[in-house]
Symmetry: C2
Subunit: 423 residues, 2 copies
């Protein structure tokens, strides 16, 4: 066995933290620093960290699963239901506008062979990757707000719309997936989640009640097992993203009595290992393609179209649902991030011949830029007027109380240490 | 990417916990259950979990590194120094007696070709794997005792003596490693550790003081980075086991002011992910060899010799250092576990032709049985008279206080949840 993963993980932990602290100095979210650390150390710049380690890849996948599971635990299903209607409109316009805008740009400038390829470029732009937005909103304390819930709902619906769009494109392009089968599976997944939710949290609560006063470790273990299983089931049986399954598991575990304790124990697992590996690995995946002037111009336009069309579509959807202009701006920017989803779609496209090789480079660049831009733009969008919400003050109290407990723990352990040393 | 690792980790977490609770019902350490869970689900019995997953293997390696790092943090370097002299004698006799006894058994019964091969069987029996013992002692609250420190010191010295023995054997067998180079590297490693210790914990303490009152997450991240780097450096530059490096890192981080806080944050990482994967993977590595009657008889005798010779050698060493008979028994049994070290040695032997293929099976069986027997025997050895020690009462208070904090956290979060629900 090679032991290189030891220094690799150490370097990732150290660099994401140091870069995170630096970006915070500049009043930017720490997640921007973590992404830049991966970009700098990966093949794109210094090439210190490789991007072909299976271990790092799978740890990163665990990381995004835990992030979405935590987001699910923090989300109240009733708030999400309320946000569902507006989320649907946000997601729908957030898919249609980039689809048409991307196809239009491709038709105008890209070296594509037919209209199907143009629309595939549009399809790539429909994808939304919500994990970076979730982490940014959480860092700023805005995840549990009407805007936060709408973004979460829209991102989930976007994931489903994205699968449908991809399936339509591939079946038009001669792929073997049947659109009806895909729709059927999605409906089945939603039914499955509803059943698991209705039954699951009662079973968990019964179990938690039954084992009261015992060792508390069993609670986070049970929660984490449910998270992993739901993530796997979503991917393996329903063709839905694993993070959507993890989010559904989070909603369910969040409805149990022990959700707070479970979240507090999962937190170190996330920030001590899985989270940094995930954020860094996004940057590490970047391999800059060879550039010609034409491709460079196309890339810049694609970035502009990608950011602008998503912002416009989602913002418009939010406006139609009665959000204020300020909130529309936040929702639109929160959905800009493309992340790994767009890369997976592009990859699928090259496999079945719908994606010209020359355009993979611009797509990669668009994904990087949109991913790094999202937390920066979100931060700016929130810098304007602060909207005081009752939930936030509760959250502040909770977070302060937890910090106090941390400090009490720390004092207690220091005192015990000194006592032992004096003995 | 295959998503199978999601259900595999879920199954490992669930089964190790369930089996752990079952073995605890029978007043046995939970670690026995975790080992059995891996054995049952692995290729040896049900063959549900594969043993060729690189991800699981490397997570397991991270697990044993974190276990030894935590053991280092809990150990006071002064206690370890005091235990060093007796530890040396325990380790020395614990290497010599199994070496001679194993060679004797092999000479008498095994189908070996020359005396060198007989002595190689003895060399395989010299290895000690301390992680299972550490976990068992910690579970019983006896890690921080004179016996615990002696076992830790002896296991480290055993690791070094084992490397020397293996190098002598391989150089006699025609290998390329020079014994002087190996000795030189070991001395260099010890000097390196001493320098890092002397400088490192002051630097860490200076940094911890400087960033007082800030976000506390940086402390465990810094500690974990040091742990990973020391583990890697030990393996990559000095040819010493990574867990020895992690233990040295733990000693250093344990001397800083924030060690208690760091340990409390690393705990969930260990019990929620890395620990269960490590224990299960030991069981999962077991592939039972094809058996003839002769090999079966030889296996049984090898197990007996392995357990008895280690117990006798180490117990004798402890007796010479003035330990009570009861404590000698505990020390001897704590060193019985062979674990992965013996398998690595055996593997090295087959590579250079010192280990007959027919004997790999018995060695594997010996490793399994000694690993599962160790926590059971230790538990029995501690069931006799309980030795009340001042450190233990402090530890109990600390552990109780931490449990209380856990419960307070839990209550607080539940109250916050109910408050939010009523809103």
């Amino acid at each position: 066995m090679s032991y290189d993963f030891l220094w690799q993980i150490a370097l990732i932990l150290l660099s994401t933290k140091v870069f995170g602290l630096i970006t915070r100095r500049f009043h930017m979210p720490q997640v921007v620093g973590a992404l830049l650390a991966g970009l700098l150390l990966g093949p794109a710049v210094l090439h210190i960290l490789p991007n072909d380690s299976q271990m790092i890849r799978q740890l990163a996948e665990l990381g995004v699963i835990v992030i979405m599971f935590s987001a699910g635990m923090e989300t109240d299903i009733r708030d999400l239901k309320n946000a569902g209607k507006s989320g649907f409109l946000v997601a729908l316009l957030g898919v249609l506008v980039p689809l048409v805008a991307g196809a239009g740009l491709s038709l105008w400038l890209a070296p594509t062979e037919n209209l199907l390829q143009d629309f595939f470029i549009g399809t790539v732009l429909t994808a939304t990757s919500v994990s970076i937005t979730v982490e940014t909103l959480r860092e700023m304390g805005h995840l549990q707000s009407r805007v936060g819930n709408t973004i979460l709902a829209a991102a989930i619906i976007d994931d489903i719309l994205g699968i449908i769009a991809l399936t339509i494109m591939t079946s038009l392009g001669g792929g073997s997936d049947s659109i009806f089968m895909v729709l059927f599976k999605i409906v089945l997944f939603l039914v499955f989640c509803a059943v698991v939710y209705a039954v699951g949290f009662r079973i968990l609560d019964w179990y938690f009640d039954r084992s009261k006063g015992q060792n508390l470790r069993r609670y986070p273990i049970a929660g984490f097992v449910v998270c992993l299983l739901m993530a796997w089931i979503a991917e393996a049986f329903f063709g839905v993203a694993d993070i959507t399954g993890a989010f559904a598991a989070g909603l369910m575990v969040g409805a149990t009595k022990k959700s707070g304790y479970i979240a507090s124990r999962l937190e170190p697992v996330q920030y001590l290992l899985l989270g940094p590996v995930f954020f860094a690995s996004i940057g590490m995946d970047v391999v800059l393609p060879a550039m010609t002037t034409n491709i460079l111009i196309f890339s810049i336009l694609l970035i502009l179209i990608a950011v602008f069309s998503k912002w416009l579509g989602c913002g418009l959807g939010a406006k139609l649902c009665g959000f204020s202009t300020h909130e529309c701006n936040q929702i639109g920017l929160g959905m800009v991030c493309r992340g790994e989803v767009a890369l997976i779609v592009a990859n699928k496209g090259t496999e079945i011949g719908l994606m010209p090789d020359a355009l993979v480079g611009p797509v990669v660049i668009t994904v990087i830029v949109s991913t790094i831009l999202t937390p920066i733009l979100l931060k700016l969008a929130y810098r304007g007027k602060e909207t005081a919400k009752p939930e936030e003050s509760v959250l502040d109290t909770k977070s302060e109380a937890l910090d106090c407990l941390d400090i009490v723990t720390d004092r207690l352990l220091t005192a015990e240490k000194e006592f032992r040393n004096k003995q």
